[in-house]
Amino acid sequence: MRKFILPALAGLLFTTPAMAETTQRDLEVIGRALSFVEGASGSDRTVAIVYDAASEAEAQALASAMAGGLSAGRVTLNARLVPMADSGSLGGADAAVLLGAAAGDGGVFSAASSAGVMTVSTDMSCVESAQCVMGVQSAPSVRIVVNRGAADSSSVSFAAAFAMMIEEI
């Protein structure tokens, strides 16, 4: 009866990560949330993974999870690895997942927002400090927080129904 346990099962299939790292389950939540970003069309979404040296392994793991396309609801996620120093090359991505020091870095957010790329992190302090558009937590229950100011400066908007079901700060 509960089709909605599938994301949880998918998460279990993935190697349990270190605490605070972005998991495949987080990616699936991010991907499903991307379905509700206005202006996008088609089913393919390019997700830039922005990382620093300390989070390179985590970034590689996420890219591996998306190898060949990761299905998340009605969209398919394809990874593009972007070192933090190259954040000026984010143009064309649908979203940027910020890892390590990239989450909370003003330069990364500025580059992403000027390119109209939605920034997202599992580090909630990033969205709370307006350095990310979206903060995502997938366990124990799904929590999505959007920073309205960051979204406006990134020219990112969401479907009205979605916006009413998340936290907005």
């Binding site: 009866m1 909605f4 599938l6 379905s35």
Partner: protein
């Protein structure tokens, strides 16, 4: 695991008043949303899209996956398996449902909607469930909101609201064909499908035809026996077509047309058996716009009905216009304003020459949600209704005590819903709520005229609305990762109960030309009770749920059998118990259900004016279902409903309930 939700998330309260149920029902991508959040989503509690665990009301959400696993052929049958739901099947196609109180014949207290359009028959004040233009396989989910909801939904949402949401092809193409055949000449063919033709245009359709033998009449009920002798076949045919056009990301419009044609045996509101034919048509359209001035919704609908009761035919219509807007004042405060206009008309009925009649109504409503903190929030909703009745002519002066001017009647009523939600550190969610709902006079209550020479039956233009006040405390909690607890205690008072016609004439000459049986208010009643539900998933594909409902009713009505045929205290079962055990493995799915209903004393009217009471023993019903998936798109199922009832179990004073068995072949793409 059946899903029943009671509570509220403070965070969502601040945003929880946005959409009308109509707009949200049509725009909400239920599948994508529930997959994203890991739980069902709904717009039924406040009109705004919400996660099931966040809703500020006691709710049941029944998904398509749930529906498929019940050995039931209609929606009332599905609803009987949930806590707080009273159910009785007065004939094969006459299942009646109420929340927290007896499922009396033609239950008037539950407002039912399909995609936000009222299918509650405003003319008489009940829902003819078999006439709903919906196929079971076409339902996305059924949402049941318990308690008065008049401030949100308007008149007649006093016991609760059932909102039926159909699938939306804008969120994925689909097609389902189902053929069923069973005992007692049962057959059912159901087709439904939807497709997104372009990025901006999608459409869906459904068609169904269903037949079967009626149940045997309850032998002491002469009227039911006579109706059965005149015809003993249930038949239903219905169709719906709908389309959605999206102008851009911010603006879309939708339209839907439905028709249904049903012939069946029933029991009327005064426990008098009847045979009825329904010919219903509906039209609706909506426009939704996400603007700088808020989320605007425009909605219009028209229901047209021709209903042939065994005492006469009635033609009526109701047209509704609604505009509303949501404005987010701040992250902690949201307000919503709504304006609604209704125009309802009925032909003189059943006597055809007493003047057509009807009403217009205007309503203003507002809602405010405020978030004090992440642990505490509040929602307040208010609605003001003004109703103006009128009649085209005076009824026959030889038969009735009323003249045309008596029908120039105004009614003004205020409804409210208030909820305070608290999430204690100890865990779970506690909700305190109070509500005032209004049950408006119907066409029957006001304008009915039937003259038979020496006496007449008449509506009463001075009848008062019934007012229902409800107080509730609810608690829900995940006991473990796989087991959930839902609980609620409630107290509900109803004043000025509209009890249908009097059993004996109550107006006599010289006040009237002949003795008159009069519709009217028959007193007060109240119900107190509690409900508990546990549900869980286990290893190896097993799942289970169990629920218990306790109800204690106290009536303060006019003398039973003389001035009123109603006896809520006697007709409401004190104890309801439901249990379910299911298993899924490979291509097999098996489910078993048990429903216990304690004994009642139920009114019976075997002939007009002769009301008695019959003792109905407690019942245990056992139902089973097994399904085997032949392929990914083709399945067969065997359904056995009430297998222990055999050729007849007495569950009411109209028809026996029989065991029915049928096989299903379903193809889904």
């Amino acid at each position: 695991m059946k899903t029943q939700f009671l509570t509220t998330s403070i965070s969502v309260l601040a945003l929880s008043v946005a959409f009308s149920a109509t707009s949200a029902a049509q725009t909400l991508d239920y599948t994508a949303m529930s997959d994203l959040f890991g739980e069902p989503v709904t717009a039924g509690a406040t009109g705004a899209p919400q996660r099931a665990s966040d809703v500020p009301a006691t709710m049941i959400i029944i998904t398509q996956d749930d529906i498929e696993r019940f050995p039931e052929y209609d929606i009332p049958g599905v609803l009987r398996h949930f806590a707080g739901v009273n159910f009785n099947r007065y004939a094969f196609g006459d299942g009646q449902v109420s929340i927290r109180g007896a499922a009396t014949p033609y239950t008037p207290r539950l407002l039912v909607l399909v995609n936000g359009r009222e299918v509650y028959l405003d003319s008489y004040g009940y829902t003819a469930w078999s006439s709903l233009p919906v196929e079971m396989a076409d339902i996305q989910q059924i949402e049941v909101v318990k308690g008065p909801q008049s401030a949100l939904y308007g008149f007649n949402a006093v016991a609760g609201v059932v909102n039926i949401i159909t699938r939306n092809p804008a969120h994925g193409d689909y097609a389902t064909a189902r053929a069923e055949i069973g005992t007692d000449e049962y057959s059912n063919v159901s087709l439904s499908g939807g497709r997104q033709f372009t990025e901006n245009f999608s459409a869906r359709f459904s068609y169904g035809t269903q037949e079967g033998n009626e149940f045997a009449p309850y032998a002491p009920n002469a009227q039911a026996v006579g109706i059965a002798a005149a015809g003993n076949q249930f038949s239903r045919e219905n169709a719906a077509i709908a389309a959605t056009f999206r102008f851009n990301d911010k603006v879309s419009m939708n339209a839907e047309v439905t028709t249904s044609d049903v012939t069946l045996a029933e029991t009327g509101s005064i426990y008098l058996a009847g045979g009825t034919e329904y010919d219903l048509n509906s039209y609706q359209a909506g426009l939704e716009a996400d603007t700088d001035f808020g989320f605007l919704t425009f909605f219009a609908s028209r229901n047209e009905s021709e209903i042939a009761y065994n005492f006469g035919s009635m033609e009526s219509s109701i047209t509704v216009f609604r505009v509303q807007d949501l404005i987010n004042l701040s992250p902690n405060d949201t307000i919503r304003f709504s304006v609604e206009y209704r125009d309802a008309e009925a032909g003189s009925f059943p006597d055809a020459t007493d003047g057509d009649f009807g009403y217009t109504s205007s309503a203003l409503s507002a809602m405010w949600s405020h978030k004090f903190s992440n642990e505490l929030g509040m929602t307040l909703a208010l609605r003001y209704d003004s109703v103006e009745w009128s009649r085209d002519a005076s009824p026959n002066p030889g038969g009735y005590p009323f003249v045309q001017a008596d029908y120039d009647r105004s009614i003004e009523e205020l409804s409210y819903n208030a909820a305070m939600v608290w999430r204690p550190e100890a865990g779970g969610t506690v909700r305190f709520s109070a509500a005032r709902g209004v049950q408006a006079p119907t066409m029957f209550d006001v304008g009915f005229t039937l003259f038979f020479g020496t006496a007449s039956v008449s509506g009463d233009p001075s009848i008062e609305p019934s007012v229902v006040t409800n107080y509730e405390i609810a608690y829900d909690r995940d006991l473990t990762a796989d087991i959930t607890l839902r609980a609620a205690v409630f107290h509900q008072e109803t004043t000025d109960v509209k009890g249908g016609t009097s059993v004996i004439p109550v107006v006599f000459p010289p006040t009237s030309p002949v003795p008159v049986y009069l519709f009217g208010n028959h007193g007060d009643t109240q119900v107190s009770g509690a409900e508990f539900a546990l549900a869980g998933d286990m290893e190896h594909g097993w799942n289970w749920d169990v629920s218990y409902t306790y109800q204690s009713v106290e009536d303060d009505l006019l003398t039973f059998g003389v001035f009123t045929p109603q006896d809520y205290e006697g007709a409401t079962p004190t104890h309801l118990v439901n249990a379910h055990l299911g298993w899924t493995g490979g291509r097999f799915t098996v489910d078993g259900y048990v429903n216990y209903v304690s004994s009642v004393d139920m009114p019976m009217q075997p002939a007009f004016g002769a009301v008695t009471s019959e003792a109905i023993d407690s019942q245990v019903a056992l139902s089973l279902r097994g399904q085997y998936d032949l392929t990914d798109w083709l399945s067969v199922a065997l359904n056995a409903q009430n297998v222990n009832f055999g050729d007849g179990e007495v569950t009411n004073t109209n028809h026996l309930n029989e065991s029915r068995v049928w096989a299903s072949l379903t193809s889904s793409f």
